[in-house]
Amino acid sequence: MIETRRPKLELLSREFVERIIDEGLTLLERHGVLVENAEALDLLTAAGARVDPSTGMARIGRPIIEAALATAPPSVTVYDRSGGRAFTVGGDEVHFDPGSAGVTLLDHDTRTQRQASAADLAAFYKLTETLEHLHFQSTCLVPADVPSRVADAYRLWLGLVLSEKPFVTGTFRVEGFRPMKDLLAAVRGGESGLRARPLAIFDACPSPPLKWSNLTAQSLVDAARAGVPSELISMGMTGATSPTTIAGTLVQHVAESLSGVAIVQLAAAGAPVIFGGSPSSFDMRHGTTPMGAMETMMIDVGYAQIGKALKLPTHAYMALSDAKVNDAQAGFETGLGAVLAALAGINVVSGPGMLDFESCMSLEKLVIDDGLCAMAYRLIEGVAQRDDPIALGVFDGFRPGQSFLTHPHTRRWYRTEHLPAGLADRDPYEAWAAAGGTTIVDKAHDDVARRLGRYSAPPLAGDLRRDLDGIMSAYARSSGVPAPALPAA
């Protein structure tokens, strides 16, 4: 049997990858990064970086980065809440999760955006739980009705109560890390259990160009020490906060990300860290950060290739759109992103369900996008040789005019080789018209209701619920806000 080829997209030549990495390292060495966090600066100083204490500028030499790359693991395994299902974040594995930290929700009936509430967030968690091509959850909305001081931990608490899947999340305040880690550790029965089987990935964004804020640097240090994987979200905006050329932005991306890898490894050698990002091709007319632009996706695919060359797990914000409603633009931008990300073998792909420059989430879009992810997965499975000979056997004894419909070979393989339509319309015109002439968005809306109706909370073992509630309410108390409750269904 001929081995199935995994189709793969590599945008850059090897020589180009090496040059970009080399310039990134030179940039770190000569120009440096601004680090606004004392602990991270101490770590860098101790490792031999040239730190200007008056400015916080750290010039990081190659040996420091090389040492960090030597201890950074090439892949991370995360586990679901029960600990039973493992997901490798590494190699060319691809895991989709909903876009993260949206501000608003697209209301299907009015086609307008409104502020998201805790109840909306719960609906997304439940829906994601039912969508098989979204391997991870993300804390995908910031509920406006939850006190902002505890919003980061609240989102995770709610998610852990409602879902089995691993999480992609992040802190909003330095104080937020501790209770979030405690929640995760409670699920694993302690910190060593969490270290052994990570349950959540923490996003941390450097501030372009070339800066780590106090919040995000602290998150890197805290997460590393707890064995929690950090996802580095470098996000140059071409011509605004990074060089306008795609290759120039990649150089900055390398420098920002590798300084993050160094901070993580210095805080705890061997700690898991993911080479991710959310860069964009800055729109010079609208002053916006389009995630659906082809150039944005080229930067994503480019740095993912570089991340792989550096032997690090990868992540990108892809499979999302800047459209304001679920229109053709929403579909084509998301579809292109999902396919390119899968072809590039990006390990964590955050985006499904998301619209409007990472700011709006749509339940309908999430189910539509789950179907797109299914297609992307199908694509990278590649074309397999199922039989030997490939088809000659099928034609044995074949009579002219005979159909394959009744051939045993068809029933043997059609379900493996071909995906069902899902929500995509494949009716003949007359049937479609007779059924009301609906669009995929209408169908998705019904599907959301169906799925939410079917959802039942995966049970939590023992006293876990009580422990999680206890951690959440203690954090609320210490933040001076009332203990937030589960939103009414």
């Binding site: 910031v142 902002s148 007319r285």
Partner: protein, 219 residues
């Protein structure tokens, strides 16, 4: 040899259109040195250039890099002319003073910087407090410089509440009537501005300038 007004005005305009900061500044110094009426210099030298830039933007000919570079050139000229204008009777002509910043707990400043640049180019004297700014600082600065408008930027759901708190703060101090308050940033909206009792919302830098102008004119 000094240039005549007829010679120097078109060059000023060109410097703005080309976004040539150095030329814009040097020409302003030359005009100040020659004792020209600086109000006329702004009106007939620089403003036609700025208007042309506006037209080129409207026509889709200019994009943000050109727009902001021209705004920066205008800023360079005004840095020379501003102090002199303020001393003279012309000071009253300035569209007004604006205090701007990103609210506490929020470090997103790219949009705020664009808005600040455009306001400056639009003739406002802008006091940019930067990002992660304590609400108290906005009031202090506005009181100190005699600003008419305060602009608050917020990009996070968790920090937009500061825009609301700020209106409360002004009310508590009995200062609400004294300032126009504009809000902006990804989670803000026209509806939000109404809800919290702000004076206005704008979705981008160009709209922010128009809004600030109409509010400054209307008061």
């Amino acid at each position: 040899m000094t240039l005549s007004k007829a010679e120097i005005f078109p060059r000023m305009s060109e410097a703005i259109i080309a976004g040539d900061r150095e030329a814009a500044r040097a020409l302003a110094e030359e005009a100040a040195g020659a004792g020209f009426d600086l109000l006329e210099v702004v009106d007939k030298g620089y403003l036609p250039g700025l208007r042309k830039v506006g037209e080129l933007w409207e026509q889709g000919e200019y994009f943000l890099p050109e727009l902001i570079t021209s705004a920066e050139a205008m800023k360079a000229a005004m840095a020379v002319l501003g102090p002199a204008l303020n001393r003279g009777p012309a000071g009253s002509r300035r569209a007004g003073r604006i205090v701007i910043g990103t609210v506490e707990g929020d470090i997103h400043d790219i949009g705020k910087n664009l808005v600040a640049s455009m306001l400056q180019a639009g003739g406002f004297e802008v006091f940019d407090l930067g990002a992660d700014v304590k609400l108290e600082r906005f009031v202090e600065k506005a009181e100190e410089v005699g600003a008419g408008t305060i602009c608050l930027s917020a990009l996070l759901t968790t920090t937009m509440a500061a825009q609301k708190r700020f209106i409360g703060l002004l009310r508590d101090r009995g200062l609400r009537g004294k300032y126009k308050v504009l809000v902006g940033g990804a989670p803000a909206s026209r509806r939000w501005a109404e809800e919290i009792g702000a004076d206005g919302y704008a979705e981008n830098a160009v709209a922010a300038v128009n809004l600030a102008k109409s509010l400054a004119g209307g008061s």
